[in-house]
C-alpha cells in the first residue's frame, strides 16, 4: 500500500503534463511549420500534374522532386489531420462516441497514407532510370 493521497497520485498526469496535451500541441506546431513550407511546393507540383495524360502523370511522379514533395505533403498532412481532428473530437464528443471517432480518424488517416505511398512508390520505382 502506498501512503499518498489521491491528489498526490493524480498530480502531473493531466493534459497539461509533459507527455500528453503539451506534446499534442507541439506535434501540431512542428507539422504546421513543415506544411507551411510544403504547401506552395505541393500546389505547384499539382498544377503541373493535373491535365497530363496517364503516361505523363506516371513519368512526372517518377521524378524525385514531385514524388518527394507529394509524399511529404500527404504523409505530414494526414498526421497533422489526425492531431487536429483529435482536438475537435475531444471538444464535441465523449464516452464511446469519442473513442469510436478517434479510432476511425486514425484508421482513415493511415489508409490515405498507405494508398498515396503505394501509388507514389509504384510510379517512382517502376521508372526507367537513365
Amino acid at each position: 500500500m502506498r501512503y499518498i493521497t489521491p491528489l498526490k497520485a493524480a498530480r502531473g498526469t493531466g493534459a497539461a503534463g509533459p507527455s500528453t496535451g503539451t506534446l499534442h500541441h507541439w506535434v501540431l506546431t512542428v507539422t504546421s511549420v513543415a506544411l507551411a513550407i510544403l504547401t506552395p511546393a505541393f500546389l505547384l507540383v499539382m498544377s503541373r500534374a493535373v491535365g497530363l495524360p496517364r503516361e505523363g502523370v506516371l513519368a512526372y511522379f517518377s521524378k524525385p522532386y514531385p514524388a518527394i514533395v507529394t509524399a511529404l505533403f500527404l504523409i505530414v498532412g494526414m498526421y497533422h489531420f489526425v492531431k487536429g481532428t483529435r482536438n475537435m473530437i475531444d471538444d464535441y464528443l465523449s464516452h464511446t462516441e469519442r473513442k469510436v471517432a478517434i479510432i476511425f480518424s486514425e484508421i482513415f488517416a493511415w489508409a490515405v497514407i498507405a494508398a498515396a505511398g503505394y501509388a507514389l512508390a509504384r510510379m517512382a520505382l517502376t521508372a526507367v532510370i537513365v
Binding site: 507551411a36 504547401t39 498544377s47 493535373v50 482536438n87 475537435m88 490515405v112 503505394y118
Partner: protein, 130 residues
C-alpha cells in the same frame, strides 16, 4: 436553481440574435477548412492510385478530376488550404504572445479572409497557366 421562477426572460447570450465577432468566425473557419480540405485530398489520392492501376481506372478518376465537380472540389479545397495556412501562421504569433488584442485579432481576421481569396486566385491562375 431550478425551482426559482425566472419568468420568460431571454437566455444570455441570446443565441438567435448573437452575431459572432469576426475573430470567432475565422477561428471556427480554421477548424472547418482544416477538415473540409480532406475532400481534395481524397480526390487527389484516388487519382494517384488510379494512375498506377489501369487505363480504365485513370480514365474515370481523371474525368471526375477535370469535370466541373472536380474543379469545384479542388478550387474550394485550395481556398480551404490557403485559409488554414494563413490562420495557422496566425497561431504561431498567438503562441509567441503577439496579436492577442481585440483590434489586432479583427485586423488579422480580415487579412486571413482576403489573403486566402487572393492566394486562391493566384493559385488558380498558376493551375491554368502551368
Amino acid at each position: 436553481m431550478g425551482d426559482i421562477p425566472r419568468g420568460n426572460r431571454p437566455l444570455s447570450p441570446h443565441l438567435q440574435v448573437y452575431r459572432l465577432p469576426i475573430s470567432a468566425v475565422t477561428s471556427i473557419m480554421n477548424r472547418i477548412t482544416g477538415h473540409a480540405m480532406l475532400a481534395g485530398v481524397i480526390l487527389i489520392v484516388w487519382w494517384l492510385v488510379a494512375a498506377v492501376t489501369s487505363d480504365h481506372a485513370f480514365g474515370w478518376a481523371d474525368w471526375v478530376m477535370r469535370s466541373w465537380f472536380g474543379f469545384l472540389v479542388l478550387a474550394l479545397s485550395m481556398w480551404a488550404l490557403w485559409f488554414h495556412f494563413l490562420a495557422g501562421i496566425r497561431h504561431f504569433f498567438y503562441d509567441a504572445g503577439h496579436m492577442l488584442e481585440i483590434d489586432e485579432g479583427q485586423k488579422s481576421s480580415w487579412a486571413i479572409i482576403w489573403g486566402s481569396v487572393i492566394l486562391t486566385l493566384i493559385s488558380l491562375l498558376l493551375f491554368f497557366l502551368a
